[in-house]
Amino acid sequence: MTVGVFAGINALVAIGLCILMGYAGQISLGQAGFYGIGAYVSAVLSLHFGLPVVVSLILAMVVAAMVAVILAVPALRLKGHYLAVATLGFGEIIYIILNEWGPGGPSGFGDIPHFSLLGYTITSTTGYFYLIWGLVAVVMIFSLNLIHSRTGRALRAIHDSELASNAMGLDVVELKIKVFILSAVYASLAGGLYAHYITFISPSSFSLFYSILVLMMVIVGGITNLWGAIIGAVVITVLPELLRRFEEFDVLVYGLILTLSLMFFRKGLVPILVEKIKKLRGLAVVKH
């Protein structure tokens, strides 16, 4: 069950990164930064300022959105590798700030209040499981609506050709900033939920390693399909648990599986599955 909760939390971050990278074509290696902002802001506001958790979560998302704007305006002028490095730098800055000035420094802090709404507090893992997967559903519906809309088409258009997007009158810069904010808000929501679930946080959960982990989820699941983000999050979160039996070799097997899956399923699990189904359907039609 605990693994299920983490899979849900990771799915939230992965959905945001999938829209940003797979649809809008903008790379980010700094999602851990927004995840960390979400966790720390919501934890501090609820613990030290006594705000209700729902309010602190919303404020955490607002802070992440503001930071995203400040980062996006200069960074989104960059492309490809440069944008990747800029966002990577951002993630590192947040990590260093949390280490140096975060409550508890590198060892973090605890006693973060649990999530509560209308006087009902969630403390059990089962409770969090339903809460978080409920939110995954909401975020997923919002995101699916978005990508199948005028805005979603515009994002994909920017991915394919910025030149033509400009010539078609799309507000390229504005759209890029907005989608960047969206991915930051999703990540900060996930971070906040993480903090209130385990009630103890330290900077090590928000390092570059986490950004790369999310990137891996999106790629393994299939970057061009939003469902891939959820599948990828589940696979990457659950896999280490299943590999426990290999004991000290687990990391080795984990790495091997990832490498092999990237070699043989380069497009990602979900897009490959979709292709297979389409092919089967095509065959069925031919037979008729």
């Binding site: 919002f142 005028r150 088409r153 394919d160 033509a164 400009n166 799309l170």
Partner: protein, 262 residues
């Protein structure tokens, strides 16, 4: 409707355009011709805002648009195609046209995510209008295919369709016949004429295919080394001594175009 006044543009040491002035009348098909490197595409890029001129001004419907970015110019009613086709290759033919409807619709980030009723209505309208445009350019049977899978001839037509979806007043076509065979070029010519006649869209055309240019344009401006060397109707331009000299290598082709025209 389009007045280009004394445009200068250089790239480093290369003077691409020297004091270019061109006027395009409403409802005309205006062709820009000239040897390679004459500055035709540069001029098109200045009109559509991809480049800013060093000196000079561009007026569209009486407004100075010289320093506007291409996004804003597109919203003012100038749309274009590209010499090297710039379709949204990973999107379907229909979706490419639907992106063209962007400027005429307004569903935002949040309202799209929440699927507000007006968004749904607008989406249906985008779809209907886009299918209509595909019918108009005879690509309806291709609507579900990826744009990058179309043959080059259909890609060029699709680019025109995408530009039409923005409901422009002025359409800039950059070598629309490049890479097309004779049959496709003839079909293209028909579509361009149809657009001007039925949709009343003014057209500026950069093209090397002289037969096409002579057949469909009302007025031609000839550029050479960044300067206007001749201007007039197809007949006048073909007789112009300076034009013949500039085209020396291609003189024969002009002759052929002339014959086809008469």
């Amino acid at each position: 409707m389009l007045n280009i006044k004394g445009i200068w543009k250089s790239f480093g040491g290369l003077m691409a355009l020297r004091h270019i002035s061109v006027d395009v009348k409403e409802g005309d098909i205006k062709a820009l011709i000239g040897p390679n490197g004459a500055g035709k595409t540069t001029l098109l890029n200045i009109i559509s805002g991809i480049y800013q001129p060093d000196k000079g001004e561009v007026f569209f419907l009486g407004r100075n648009i010289s320093n506007l970015p291409s996004t804003k110019i597109a919203r003012k009613g100038i749309s274009r195609t590209f010499q090297h086709v710039e379709l949204f290759g990973n999107m379907t033919v229909l979706e490419n046209i639907m992106v063209g409807r962007y400027v005429k619709t307004k569903a935002g980030f949040f309202s799209s995510g929440l699927k507000m009723p007006y968004v749904m209505k607008e989406e249906k309208e985008i779809q209907r209008k886009s299918e209509e445009i595909l019918e108009y350019i005879n690509l309806a049977q291709r609507n579900d295919e990826l744009a990058s899978n179309l043959p080059i001839g259909e890609q060029r037509i699709l680019e025109i369709g995408r530009a039409l979806a923005t409901e422009p007043r002025l359409l800039l076509l950059d070598e629309p016949a490049a890479g097309l065979n004779i049959r496709e070029t003839r079909n293209l010519g028909e579509i361009i004429r149809k657009i001007r006649k039925e949709l009343r869209i003014t057209i500026v055309l950069v093209e090397h295919d002289m037969e096409l240019v002579m057949r469909i344009s009302d007025s031609i401006t000839v550029l050479n080394f960044g300067e206007v060397i001749a201007e007039g109707t197809p007949l006048e331009v073909q007789k112009n001594r300076e034009v013949i000299v500039a085209y020396l290598g291609e003189e024969e082709e002009i002759q052929r175009g002339y014959n086809a025209h008469t």
